[in-house]
């Protein structure tokens, strides 16, 4: 089949004369060496001049008489005004496509699913949702609304049985209150595990005493609860500060975890530094450069 090439937008504007009012030179048609070259000028949407050069190869073919006769028929219908040769509005050279050969053994759709399947099977061990145990972050869990309250209720029930006796009396108060009204609001200071005296800045300082580690290279999906999970295994955490983007709630990549005991913090650094979490490798170190070691 004869081939047509399209080339667009060459910078010639300076050497061409201004002929008609629009400032565009006339379109030309040239025949050279068996090639027909049509040059068209126009203005595009931003009022910039552009030039389109179309090259057609003129071939001579020997065909049956009937076919040759048909080639010389005049055009009719909507093509009546067309000049000889393909009209660019109706005939376009498309991009290269090639036939994709499929061998009989391969499942044709396998190509697309394979990398996804590989990733899924790889990732299975790393991220685990606490609610449904699938491979996604807890906060991304689709069953967050339904299963989470159920889980919390179950956990609370356990705590009631196992909780230390002295705390039971104090805990009984706010819990009973909460229990009575179902989901009544309990002030943070009055909740179980809350510091009754209230946290002040002065009190807050306690956590910074050399038991704090800085975690960097966190993925943006990381949440407080995930850090709690991961670092909580090392020891009791007193505070977690995860830097979050205000609008999206995604992690900015670093966090400060304060342990109740310094040995826990040390152990955290030893075990979790270089730990692979999500798709990144964590860096865990003392939060002050001059940290005790």
């Amino acid at each position: 089949m004869p081939v047509a090439d399209n080339e667009v937008k060459s910078s010639w504007a300076d050497d061409v004369e201004d002929i008609d009012g629009l400032g565009l030179p006339p379109n030309t048609e040239e025949y050279k060496n068996g090639l027909k070259i049509i040059t068209e000028y126009g203005l595009d949407d931003d009022n910039r001049k552009f030039k389109v050069v179309r090259t057609y190869k003129i071939e001579k073919r020997y065909v049956a008489k009937a076919i040759a006769q048909r080639k010389s028929w005049p055009k009719f219908g909507l093509s009546k005004e067309d000049k000889p040769g393909p009209n660019p509005a109706t005939t376009i050279v498309s991009e290269d496509v090639s036939m994709q050969f499929i061998t009989n053994k391969e499942d044709p759709d396998n190509k697309e699913d394979d990398p996804l399947m590989k990733l899924k099977s790889m990732q299975k061990g790393v991220v685990k949702c606490r609610i449904c145990k699938e491979d996604h972050w807890t906060t991304q869990c689709p069953y967050k609304d339904t299963l989470l309250p159920v889980q919390e209720a179950l956990n609370k029930a356990e705590e009631k049985k196992v909780g230390p006796p002295p705390a039971a009396a104090a805990a009984g108060g706010p819990q009973a209150k909460g229990g009575k009204e179902g989901s009544a609001y309990v002030a943070p200071a009055l909740r179980d595990g809350g510091n009754r005296k209230g946290e002040t800045m002065a009190m807050g300082r306690r956590t910074d005493e050399g038991c704090t580690v800085r975690v960097t290279n966190l993925s943006e999906n990381a949440r407080d609860s995930d850090l709690n999970d991961l670092f909580g295994k090392i020891g009791e955490i007193s505070r977690i500060f995860l830097s979050k983007d205000k609008n999206t709630g995604q992690s900015r990549g670093f966090a400060f975890v304060s342990y109740k005991r310094k040995e826990d913090a040390e152990r955290a650094i030893k075990t979790l530094n270089g730990f692979g979490y999500d798709h990144l490798i964590l860096t865990v170190e003392w939060s002050k450069p001059s940290g005790t070691q």
Partner: protein
Amino acid sequence: MKPLMLHGHERSITQIKYNRDGDLLFSSAKDNHPCVWYSINGERLGTYEGHQGVVWAIDVDWETKRFMSGAGDNMLMIWDVQTGKALGKIEAKTSVRTCNFSYSGNMALYSTDSTMGNPSEIFIIDVRTVDSSFSTNDPILQIPLTNAPKATSMVWGNLDEVVISGHDNGDLAQWDLRTGKKINLVSEHAKSINDMQLSKDGGFLITASRDCTAKLFDADTLDCLKTYKTERPVNSAAISPILDHVVLGGGQDAMDVTTTSTRVGKFDARFFHLVFEEEFGRVKGHFGPINSLAFHPDGKTYASGGEDGYVRLHQFDPSYFDFKFDY
């Protein structure tokens, strides 16, 4: 290969056909002007103006003198291929869904849609002289399909004595023209037959069905010889005139499209080996389901018309001809 995109229609393509010599390609679409193109370079020769509805089916006689088209405006029109002038027309009761010239070009058949009150009918008419009195001529044969599923696709059979019809429920029927009776009925497909095409020698018939398969039948006995399976409804199928290949084109129903990715040009024509029923190649490019496929009579190029309104002319690379199916 660098396919040529023919952009002559604003709506989806309903059928494309090559003439017997292969130098012209006719296309019809849901807009009302069928087009004719030179298949060698994709240059449009002309359009046939006169229909006022979706042009469902087209055919051209073996001499490339007359062109026939059936449309949703209930008209079957016969045109002079060269000038685009309408020679004659017939008004039917409902939309004309199929039309075919016989092998000899002396007769033609067309079938109509079924609507409330009107059953689908098959008409055989004499087309030796087509002029203004054409519309008043009686058909040679009129077969109403009362209480039967409507005919969706038809081909002429052996020596113009038999016609084969494909129906809305997947049935294939053979009708003898001398008696007007059904001589064979085969129910291999589960859903509507979208398209039927004969092989070059008329020995095989390939049917494309909405039940996601295409089947190869013997044209005389209607034995189902082969089945080509895909996951999508098959809108059209064609048999290569020179190699043991068939091509299937299809897509999804419009309502399913939103559930799949809409990457550009994803719809493909699938090539199967005729005998082994296994897919060996795909050619992407269409932006919508493929509605019609046709091989050039010399087997070296093929054309596909899609829901996107484009007709794509492909010339096979040498790798296609060198491809040897391992067995």
